[in-house]
Amino acid sequence: MRRGRPVSNKQTRAVRLPEVSGMLVRSTIQSLFEQVAAEQERKLATLSEDTRLIDCGLDSLSFAIIVARLEDHLGVDPFSSAETTDFPVTYGDFVRLYEGIAA
């Protein structure tokens, strides 16, 4: 996916939650990290399961934008869910937070 493009049609259609597969959640998150990093002119670290969010090159505004767009794309905000008690620390935690809700 090209960087800097806001949303692909494929992702927009993914709003209907039951059809969202784990893989789509992961790829959506990955592309949003890349997109927002490009928009905010930040250098994104290579994202792996263990990459700490604090080290991935994004600031809190970037995360706020990613969470807002994920809510639009996936229809969920796991942070405001009553089941979420621990904030994610690594990129892997972050993805699992959404996969857990979308699953």
Binding site: R5, P6, V7, L61, F63, A64, I65, V67, D72
Partner: protein, 465 residues
């Protein structure tokens, strides 16, 4: 010795204005008929000296009642057409109303304390009326608050007509059209302007924009007023060409450059004026140069009739057009500073000798501790040629407390120009915002929506307000 009352009808006569017309949905009234007729049957005298609730849906008979009752009633309480019925008893109680003027029997059902209810008609019927002014009538206007019971703001004819010195009739007849409710401050200003200098076509509740424009066209309207949201509706109606006004006036909301340019392009022959007024502060200024904002030279101008100041970031107005205060228990809340000026609550930013409105002090969105004014972002978005209007609002964020998001309404298609897809458009808008705004002001998401809600008073409905 008490000051001799000068009722509205005498003020009109003193202005040298020959009677104009009131163009209602149910017919046209020649105001010359007031000399020997009344819209109130033979019941004008029953309302003398009373506190009268004007609870009339149709603006034209309401205007007739105001014209007949100024100088007769002790107090006139103007209920806008969209006043929720459940608020009417509280309004009547706060204003001590003991009489009402209605245009339907249901008008004041359930309102306590009213022992005289007069039905106003849409036309002037022959009646034996004594046109004698006996009272300095107090005019009570309701604020368009977003929640709760509206505030009652005290004016009189002197404060209401303070800004209208230039409204006297010139050589050509003036026919005003207004989208405003004439019971609210902005609309009442247009009603008084029109009565002092010509005729009026008031929009009726429930009337569509094309229907109103058609009535305005038939009345040969020359001057038209509304909020920027009203004008955006006109531009989107496909019926804008029905009228060819000489004068277009925008007030009641921030007029950004995009709407000023769009109105000017649609009516190239018209003077496009944007004005600032509030129910409490009265008229602040009007700007005729077609540019958003107003010249900083208007601030603290020595000897000005209307003294404009910016203090603590907000515009303050001191003039003889200021309201006297709130009625009832709200006296303390009236936003008058120690210097007598009224705080409008509208935030001002000065750039290169020009003052721009940032938004309402109460409308601020807090993004990670940084203040964002929705109107500033909307002005950037609205500058895009494919955007007709936009609404920037807050969405709570677990990361920064809030982020800003934008809903955007597209402009009509233009021949020969391909409309960008929603994805392309949001991409362009985000790019435009990033170029001219700090990162925290750039919307996190932008949605293209079919329309945005505009309130009965003609203002964009702001969910955060």
């Amino acid at each position: 010795m008490p000051r001799k009352p000068c009722p509205l009808r005498e003020a009109i006569a003193a202005a040298g204005a020959s009677a104009g017309h009131l163009y209602g949905v149910r017919g046209t009234t020649d105001l010359a008929g007031l000399a020997h007729g009344s819209s109130l049957g033979d019941q004008l005298e029953e309302l003398r000296g009373r506190s009268v609730l004007i609870a009339v849906k149709d603006p034209s008979p309401a205007a007739l009642a105001l014209l007949e009752l100024d100088g007769v009633a002790a107090r006139l309480v103007l209920c806008p057409a969209d006043l929720p019925p459940e608020h009417m008893p509280a309004v009547a109680r706060a204003a001590g109303c003991d009489a009402a003027v209605v245009d339907s029997a249901a008008g004041v059902a359930g309102v306590a304390g009213i022992d005289c209810c007069v039905t106003v008609g849409p036309e002037l019927l022959p009646a034996a009326v004594r046109r004698i002014g006996s009272h300095d009538t107090e005019w009570i206007l309701l604020t368009s608050g977003t929640t709760g019971v509206p505030r009652l703001v005290r004016h009189d004819l002197a404060t209401l007509t303070h800004a209208l010195a230039d409204a006297r009739r010139g050589t050509a007849p003036i026919v005003w059209g207004t989208f405003y409710d004439i019971r609210r401050y902005g609309g009442l200003q247009i009603l008084l302007r029109a009565l002092l200098g010509g005729s009026l076509v008031p929009a009726a509740p429930g009337e569509s924009v094309p229907e109103f424009l058609e009535r305005a066209r038939a009345a040969r309207v020359t001057h038209v007023s509304g909020t920027p949201s009203h004008w955006r509706k006109v531009l989107m109606s496909g019926a804008a060409a029905a009228i060819a006004p000489h004068y277009v006036r925008l007030s009641g909301e921030i007029a950004d450059q995009a709407v000023l340019d769009a109105v000017r392009a649609t009516y190239p022959g018209a003077i496009v004026v944007h004005a600032f007024a509030s129910t409490e502060a009265g008229v602040g200024f009007e700007v005729r140069d077609g540019c958003a904002g107003f010249p900083a030279s208007l601030l603290d101008a020595p000897g000005a009739e209307v003294r404009l100041t910016v203090r603590e970031g907000t515009l303050r107005i001191h003039s003889r057009g200021n309201a006297h205060g709130y009625l009832g228990e709200d006296v303390v809340a009236f936003p008058r500073g120690p210097d007598g000026a009224i705080d409008t609550g509208d935030l001002i930013e000065q750039r290169s000798g020009r003052c721009y409105f940032l938004g309402r002090r109460g409308g601020v969105i807090n993004v990670g501790g940084l203040k964002v004014y929705p109107e500033e972002i909307e002005a950037v978005i609205n500058a895009h040629p494919w955007v007709r209007m936009s609404l920037v609002r807050s969405r709570r964020s677990p990361i920064t407390g809030a982020v800003v998001i934008a809903d955007v309404v597209l402009a009509d298609g233009k021949p020969g120009r391909a409309r960008p897809s929603p994805e392309e458009l949001t991409h362009q808008l985000l790019q435009g915002c990033r170029q001219s705004l700090a990162a925290y002001k750039v919307p996190a998401t932008i949605r293209v929506v079919p329309g945005l809600e505009v309130s009965a008073s003609g203002k964009l409905v702001r969910p955060n307000a």
